[in-house]
C-alpha cells in the first residue's frame, strides 16, 4: 500500500518533530519544513506560533506561500533575534553538510580562507544552536551531506557545545534531523547521529550506504509512521494543493524510472 508519497511522509515526520514543543515559535527554513510545521499546528500542536517567514505572526494556517489572513503579531528580524535568546523557538534549518557529531555547515565547502564553493554564510546557525531547539531538514540524503567532519561548523552539535563550556551547552538542543530517507536524533553514543526510523520503502542498509560516517543504529529500527487520512487531506487539499512538495522530494517511482 503506497497511497502516500515520500514527500508526504517527510511532511508528517517534520510535523512530529514539533508536536511536543508547546507554545513556542516554530521557525521553518525551506518548503517541506514550512509544510510540516503548518501541519503540526493543524494536528498535534495547535499552540505553535507561526510566522510568514518575513515579519508577521500568523493567526491562521494559510497554504504554502499564501498571504497571511489573520495577523497575531509582529516579528521583524530584530525580534527574531530576541526570541532566539529568549529560547521559545524551534528552528528547522537546512544543512549542506552534517557530521557524525551533529555539527552543521551552511557557510562554505572547502577551506574557509578560499572555499571551493561559497554558500550562504553561517546565517543564524551558531546562535540558534546554543540558544533554542534546532532541527535540520535534508531533502537529498547522501554521503556528500552526511560527512565524517563538516568543513566549517556553523551549527554546533552537542559534543562541541559541551566542550565549549556550560554557556554553550546549557541551551544546546539538536532535536531531529529529517531527510528524504529517515529520521535521526543526536543521542547516539558519544553524542553522535542516531537513526530513529526509516521511511516506508527505505532499508537501514540504504541509509547506512548513503551516510558518510559510522551511523549509530540501535536494535531494530522502526519504520517512520505513515500519514493519516486526515493528514493527507490537510496536506493535499488545504496546505499544498499545488503539490509543491514533490519538487523538493520527488515521488519515489518517478526517481526509479
Amino acid at each position: 500500500m503506497t497511497d502516500f508519497t515520500r514527500a508526504e511522509v517527510c511532511a508528517t515526520a517534520i510535523a512530529d518533530a514539533f508536536k511536543d514543543d508547546g507554545e513556542i515559535f516554530g521557525s521553518p527554513m525551506g518548503m517541506l519544513p514550512m509544510l510540516g510545521v503548518r501541519l503540526a499546528k493543524l494536528t498535534s500542536n495547535p499552540d505553535l506560533v507561526l510566522s510568514d517567514g518575513e515579519s508577521l505572526f500568523l493567526g491562521g494556517v494559510p497554504p504554502l506561500f499564501a498571504k497571511a489572513d489573520v495577523v497575531e503579531g509582529w516579528i521583524p528580524f530584530r525580534r527574531v533575534f530576541d526570541v532566539v535568546a529568549y529560547g521559545k523557538r524551534h528552528v528547522m534549518m537546512g544543512a549542506t553538510q552534517v557530521d557524525r557529531h551533529g555539527n552543521q555547515n551552511i557557510s562554505a565547502i572547502g577551506d574557509f580562507a578560499q572555499p571551493k564553493r561559497q554558500l550562504l554564510g553561517s546565517r543564524g546557525a551558531p546562535g540558534n544552536t546554543v540558544n533554542n531547539r534546532t532541527s535540520y531538514w535534508v531533502p537529498k540524503h547522501s554521503d556528500r551531506v552526511f560527512v565524517e567532519e563538516v568543513d566549517i561548523v556553523s551549527g554546533v552539535g552537542p559534543k562541541r557545545a559541551r566542550e565549549a563550556g556550560v554557556g554553550a551547552a546549557k541551551y544546546n538542543d539538536i532535536h531531529r534531523i529529517v531527510t528524504n530517507l529517515a529520521v535521526f536524533d543526536v543521542l547516539g553514543a558519544d553524542d553522535t547521529v542516531r537513526l530513529l526510523s526509516v521511511h516506508p520503502g527505505v532499508t537501514v542498509d540504504d541509509v547506512v550506504a548513503a551516510t558518510g560516517f559510522d551511523l549509530a543504529v540501535e536494535g531494530d529500527v522502526p519504520e517512520t509512521r505513515t500519514p493519516t487520512a486526515e493528514e493527507l487531506t490537510l496536506i493535499r487539499e488545504v496546505l499544498d494543493p499545488r503539490t509543491l512538495r514533490d519538487r523538493e522530494v520527488p515521488p519515489v517511482e518517478a526517481v526509479a524510472s
Binding site: 550562504l120 546562535g127 546554543v130 561548523v153 556553523s154 557545545a161 554553550a168
Partner: protein, 298 residues
Amino acid sequence: MNGTPRDKRMTIDEVVASLEDGMTIGIGGWGPRRKPMALVRAILRSDLKDLTIVSWGGADVGLLARAGKIRKLVYAFVSLDTVPLEPNFQKARQEKSIPEIVELDEGMFQTGLLAASQRLPFLPMRAGLGSDILVNNPHIKTVASPYADEDGNVEDLVAVPALRLDVALVHLNRADQHGNATYLGPDPFFDDLFAMAAERTYVTCEQVVDTAGLTVDTPVQRLLLNRMMVTGVVETPNGAHFTNCAPDYERDEKFQKAYAAAAKDDESWTRFEERFLSGDEAAYQDAVREFHDEEQTR
C-alpha cells in the same frame, strides 16, 4: 532664526565625495531588501578603494566585491533570497579577491552594532560559542561571567566586539530635509542601529516630505531615524532598486535574475556593466525602464 534645524539635503555624488579610501562603511537593509543601492552604484562609479564593508549582505556586497572595492568584508550571510547564493560574492570568495573576511552569526552582527551604538567595547552573547565563527575570527574573545549561574557554574560568553562604523548608508521610504525618516514597510531592519554605530549617516529615501508630512498618515512609531543620527539626506526615487522597498515597490525579480545570470561569466558581466552601470543614477533608471520594456515585448 526661528529654531528650524538645518537643511541636510545633498546629492548622491556629494555623499560619495565625502567618503574616503579605507573607510568602514555599514550598509543598511537586509539581504535583498531596502538597500541604499543608488549610493552603492555611486560608489561603483567612484575611485574609492580598500573599503571595509559591514552588511547583512545582498547585491550591495556582490556589486562592490565584483568591482574590487572591498578590502575587508564583515557579513553573516550574502543572499538574494530567490537566488540563494549571490554569484558575485561567491566568485569573490572562491577567487579570494577580498583580502580580509569576517563571517559572523547574524545575531552577533546586531550585538556588535548595538555595542558600537552604546559606545561599549563589546557586549556578551552565546552566539558563536562552539562554532567556527570563533575559530575563523581569532580576534573575537570570550569573557567569563562575573556572576555564577543557578547551578554555581561560571559561563564563558562571546564578547562580541563593537562594530564601529565610519559611515552608515541606509535607504528609507520617507525623510524630511533634516534627517527624520520613516520606514513604511513591514520591517525596520537595523537601520537605526547602523546609524547609531556610525560617525556619520547618510539616508537616501523615496521621497523628501516636510516634517509634518512624515506623520500625517503614518503612525509615529514608524519614525525610525531621528535627525540627530543623520548627516545628510538624498531623495533617490527607486533608489533601492533592484532590492525591495515595500510598500513603494517590491523586489525586481526579473532584473535580479538578469543580474545573477550576467554575473556567471566575464563577457556577460561586461555587457551588464556597460548597459546598466556605466552612467549615472538617471541613466541606470532609464536602462532599467528600457530593460522592462524589452521584457514586455518579448
